[in-house]
């Protein structure tokens, strides 16, 4: 437990926050990498996800892409790209963008897919254009899942930016890598604590956003089969995912 106490003492010492290799600068770097990567990924994934979600075409593309992304060892991919492209900001951001796209795309797509067909058909019937349906019906109703995808992508990027400390000069991962390399275990624990707190805080903020953007009535996402207090007459019409038995 000594290591933890030392690590907290290190973090609380203002002297360790200053300078190019201080906590402050590395925290800012980490946030900058994350913001840039998620931002670029959103520019690509959100329009694509909206297109696939709205038209319903390309569903298998999303599934194949997300499965492939899950299987790819991120650490190996990162080192491979950095080795080929050189150690700069661009290759690092490129890797992070590539890793952030699948969860974002899946979130946007699944958000739109989760929307009940009835309001969409109703909107079309009363004469809304496809753009209006997308903007006024599908997007607001699918927004919670979309933010869910954003949370996934952001966590993924924060975690990968941490191991990027192995090659990059910035980010909180440097404390972990330096600590491990120099066998200064306290320094590694400092990095572990800072990274964990950063991930938890960012995820918590996005969770609040997710709550705020959920339209009342669909805050729980698509209707789920309930287990309790549903009158039998309502249960009759309910579709259950599993039909065998």
């Amino acid at each position: 437990m000594n290591f933890f106490a030392d690590a907290f003492a290190f973090i609380l010492d203002p002297a360790n926050w200053a300078g190019d290799n201080g906590i402050g600068q590395r925290l800012l770097d980490h946030l900058r990498y994350t913001g840039l990567a998620v931002g670029f990924a959103a520019v690509i994934a959100v329009p694509l996800g909206l297109l696939i979600g709205h038209t319903g075409r390309g569903r298998s593309f999303v599934i194949i892409l997300t499965s492939a992304a899950r299987a790819l060892p991120t650490f190996g991919f990162l080192l491979f790209i950095v080795l080929l492209a050189g150690l700069g900001l661009a290759p690092l951001i490129f890797v992070l963008v590539v890793l952030a796209i699948p969860p974002l795309l899946a979130g946007v797509y699944a958000g739109l897919e989760s929307v009940d067909r009835v309001p969409i058909d109703a909107a079309r019937a009363i004469g809304l254009s496809e753009w209006q349906i997308l903007g006024r019906v599908e997007l607001p109703l699918g927004f919670p899942l979309l933010i869910g995808g954003l949370r996934s992508a952001t966590l993924q990027v924060i975690a990968t930016a941490t191991i990027a400390g192995y090659v990059a000069q910035g980010g909180l991962g440097r404390f972990l890598i330096e600590g491990l390399a120099r066998r200064e275990f306290t320094l590694a624990i400092v990095g572990a604590i800072l990274v964990a707190v950063l991930a938890l805080v960012v995820d918590g903020l996005l969770a609040i956003v997710q709550k705020l953007v959920s339209p009342r009535g669909v805050s729980r996402g698509p209707a789920r089969p309930r287990t309790r207090s549903v009158p039998p007459t309502r249960q009759l019409g309910r579709r259950t995912p599993i039909t065998e038995g």
Partner: protein, 233 residues
């Protein structure tokens, strides 16, 4: 290719290591999520607590968890236990939500019918609820399996990453082929594990066909309030 042939022993040894270090957390994650998932599907309070706790643990980047493990467990830094426990935590976190969904997805009518014809709650669980939850559990387990295999390579930074060693070593020697071989063999392990799971699924769930619920489990694992892409670094 020449490098691979010359170092076949090393690569195969690391592959065996990688398979062993990732197989244990997958099994632990599955075994633990059955009772936990059942418990959470029965009691809403337990559900809220368990999902929140594992949600928070899942948020912590893997390298941070790997490094903190020896302190929390009191193990040696180079002990296998660190990596196995950390990956088991992620596996449970990924599996738990799916297990809860799987158990709640079993129709209440079916469960009540089983009770009505005389099943005790213990037998009812093993002979009715668990088999019916099987397809969704299997779909989630496949996601956990692939993610765990890919996640393990990060542990190369603490000297226990199986094939991840080829990544750090290849980088230090500026030899991209070695990294590519590491990636390919990691993908092969993930593929073999997946085929094994599908095979087991065919054996124990012979009635299982691809339903929408099982098909979507892979996609769904990216979503929701705490689900995250498993191949998180």
């Amino acid at each position: 290719m020449t490098w691979l042939l010359n170092n076949l022993g090393l690569v195969l040894g690391l592959t065996a290591d990688h398979a062993r270090l990732s197989a244990i957390p997958i099994v632990v994650g599955f075994a633990a999520s059955i009772p936990l998932g059942w418990f959470a599907s029965r009691f809403p309070v337990a559900r809220a607590i368990l999902l929140t706790v594992f949600g928070i643990l899942f948020t912590i980047p893997s390298l941070a968890l790997f490094v903190a493990m020896p302190l929390i467990l009191g193990t040696k830094i180079l002990s296998d236990i660190n990596v196995i426990v950390a990956l088991s935590i992620y596996a449970i976190a990924m599996m738990l939500r799916g297990a809860v969904d799987a158990f709640t997805s079993v129709s209440r009518d079916v469960l009540q019918s089983a009770t009505a014809v005389g099943f005790a709650s213990w037998t009812r669980f093993w002979t009715v609820q668990l088999p019916l939850a099987g397809p969704v559990l299997l779909a989630n387990l496949r996601v956990v399996s692939v993610s765990t295999v890919s996640l393990l390579s990060v542990a190369a930074l603490i000297g226990k990453g199986g094939l991840g060693y080829l990544f750090t070593n290849g980088y230090q020697r500026a030899f991209p082929d070695e990294i590519v071989i590491g990636i390919v063999f990691t993908l092969l392990i993930a593929l073999v594990f997946d085929l094994i799971l599908v095979g087991i699924g065919r054996l124990v769930l012979p009635w299982n066909r691809r339903t929408k619920a099982t098909r979507d489990a892979g996609l769904a694992s990216f979503l929701g309030s705490f689900r995250r892409a498993g191949a998180s670094a």
